[in-house]
Assembly symmetry: C2
Homo-oligomer: 453 residues x 2
């Protein structure tokens, strides 16, 4: 079998897949924080394009991808599916491991899939500027790229800890024309409040979202865009899994397990939903595993309840697994996974036992990342190493049980802008913190026990 | 037409193409610096694998690629060929522009094509360690990656200015298991001599080569590897052009112009030689243009003569275009192009009028790079922007002359490890120096005149 399974541009999906159509229990509605009544779509219009609001509440199974968006996707899509022969060999596992590589996109991750769509719909409605937040910078880069394609301005509030850790991400956003602020900033009331309480705040996605929303809400020519969590964002990412289904068919194998890192849900939804569709429609039994950091464990240790999507409470109340909207995650290097809540759809699927969740420590993730570099020659983003850590666990289980299962995971982005994190790891400076932010381990040496034989 | 032209793994070339077989005037022989007699291959055996020495002096047209090497190539090859629709639109040119994208390799450039082959042949002869130099770090990364595949040690002397400018390149080499020293270093006699004369030397490829050669020559289990200049290195890179020939055939077009950046010649040879073969064999008239920096202009302002390949004079005398082996290039960001000489084969081809050479300023190259980012969404390595600058010149000429020529260039690597260079450019800190190292311009503002309309 070839090492890479490639598709032609004619095989770029024509529709986004909306899993709501197939869910046994539909997601609960977002509530107005004052009245606690379900919100009406028009309340969202100051922030989002009408077409995106329609997608947010749609229960149609398939939503057509605009031709112009498909044309832009063709710059890097379909993305390759790799057979991880090197990793299988390193782990001496009978498991067959595949990964879908989204790092070939202009922003280096899966994020442009939705950024391009969101920019397109906003442009179509005459919007001049889009504001957003970014954690590790992947999303801000993607939206900067997408806005530039449509001649719109892009303003990014970047979580302060990542802004400090990843200066080159900022330059990349600037190269694509994006304007970047460290968050919390003094540009918004939300930011000023946080800074007043803690001048050196490392920030969080929740705070950055508050800032970006406030900025868009006070500018009639601007809209806001979110890179994960919301239904329409997850929807756009399903092109990843749709391509992977075709590619796995070409490989003559279907996965027993599909694994993805979990921040707000778009990465996981992107690869998993088209396989979950088989479970829901055909009674297939593909295990779909979302992997989060142990330091931000909303799926494995959070509570399912109505909570705000941002720190300051500017969003509607969303029914989700959450650690509380004021939860302040440790400054781990996987900035894209530092979010207190899980998207509404994914939360409902987890509550209904239709998907699984696992948590991995930062040290184990970097160790997994190093094994992947050695075996496959690609440097994964810290977010992606969470999936790799769980894939390695499952592959070792397969070895121990003598099972030849097929495992597919989403290699959602490359780590070329995260070399300071690998530097910290290689020099024994990486710190492990628990959910309360207490340091529980440091240094490379504590990892010896984690090495697969 | 599709935006990307992809090939299957079965289309990875089976042979390296040796242009010596088709050259009207064969390259002059390297000379022993003492006797000035042609050197015999056995003199090279302390440094190189026998198979590589045979390739170095071969005049066979095709040299078979080992199956194991082809299998490794399949990790990222064949690389995609892109139609640059975005750039064509931006330039309003009737020219058809294509680029072969080598940045998809594990090291992010074309360098693994030869690194893997060199590591393979050295391993086959029982070598335990390979030493080398690196400029921007692309080559050192590639050799670190390749050595790890074959369980060999890799020791890299990295030109000091790049070592300072690109710390993450060092970490990437470390991630692939490479050991990296800033050059000049105190580990070698060559390095110590340079440091004694200039304690803060920014280094050069010539000095780093001296150090790496000295290190290999004094260790019987070690060999040396060069990332460009030598015949066998250029040979290995011809798989780029061979793939591009098939891809252009699939596009139904043959290039009128082939463009590549020029450091020592491997990048240019890689894409151009299979097209030059058509010129030499079929009397086609494809213009092949090598593009160098104005601050290191051996092709456009150097002299064709016998000179050393390194600064200290440890190599045989090579017949080449050179600025003198003690030439100290300005610390431009395109570290891979800071070499005083041109490979022997390319020098002969230029002398015989079979190829063209152009020089571009650093400021114009970064301006071209920014246009490419905007139009195509890929951040090019500073080396690659030299090709882009000349491609833009030719595309504008086509517009002015109303000609629809087909232009192909080698996008030899991505610039994700060169963001400090883009930062310097965007913040107006980029300095332009002439061949003597004098500053002739700085800041982004001086570029207004260079903008295509």
């Amino acid at each position: 079998m070839e090492r890479k399974i490639l598709l032609s541009e004619t095989e770029i999906p024509r529709f986004y897949y909306n899993i709501v159509a197939d869910m046994p229990n539909k997601p609960l509605p977002p509530l107005h924080p004052g009245t606690r009544e379900p919100i009406t779509p028009d309340l969202l219009e100051p922030l989002f394009a009408k077409e995106l609001i329609m997608q947010e509440v749609s229960s149609e199974r398939y939503i057509e991808i605009p031709a112009e968006v498909r044309k832009i996707y063709a710059q890097w899509r379909p993305t390759p599916l790799f057979r991880a022969y090197g990793l299988e060999k390193l782990l001496k596992t009978p498991a067959k491991i595949f990964y879908k590589y989204e790092g070939v996109s202009p922003a280096g991750s899966h994020k442009p899939n939705t950024a391009v769509a969101q920019a397109f719909y906003n442009k179509a409605e005459g919007i001049k500027k889009i504001t957003t937040e970014t954690g590790a910078g992947q999303w801000g880069t993607a939206l900067s790229y997408a806005c530039q394609l449509f001649d719109m301005e892009c303003e990014v509030f970047m979580v302060n800890v990542s802004y400090q850790q990843k200066p080159y991400r900022k330059i990349m956003m600037n190269s694509f024309g994006g304007i970047v602020h460290a968050s919390p900033s003094s540009l918004t009331e939300s930011g000023r409040k946080v800074l007043a309480a803690n001048h050196g705040s490392s920030g969080s996605l929740g705070i950055a979202i508050s800032e970006a929303i406030e900025r868009a809400a006070t500018d009639p020519t601007a809209h806001y865009a979110l890179g994960s969590v919301l239904n329409h964002v997850l929807l756009h990412q399903t092109i990843i899994g749709q391509e992977a289904v075709i590619q796995m068919e070409k490989a003559g194998l279907m996965p027993d397990i599909v694994v993805a890192p979990f921040g707000g849900g778009s990465n996981f939804a992107g690869i998993a939903f088209p396989f979950l569709q088989m479970n829901l429609q055909n009674k297939d039994k593909i295990r779909c595993i979302a992997v989060e950091p142990t330091s931000c464990p909303k799926l494995t240790r959070g509570e399912f309840k109505y909570d705000f999507g941002d720190t300051m409470g500017l969003t509607p109340l969303l029914p989700m697994y959450t650690l509380g909207h004021d939860f302040m995650p440790s400054p781990i290097h996987a900035g894209g996974l530092r979010y207190h809540g899980a998207g509404v759809i994914v939360s409902q699927l987890l509550k209904d036992g239709l998907i699984e969740a696992q948590a991995q420590t930062q040290l184990k993730c970097f160790e997994a990342g190093m094994q992947f570099i050695k075996a496959e020659g690609i440097i994964p983003a810290p977010e992606a190493t969470h999936a790799i850590a769980s894939v390695i666990d499952e592959a070792i289980r397969c070895r121990e049980e003598g099972k030849s299962e097929t495992i597919l995971f989403n290699l959602c982005g490359h780590g070329y802008f995260d070399m300071s994190a690998y530097d910290a790891y290689l020099s024994g400076q990486l710190v492990e913190t628990d959910v309360n932010g207490s340091q529980i381990a440091a240094s490379i040496k504590s990892l010896d026990a984690l090495q697969p034989a």
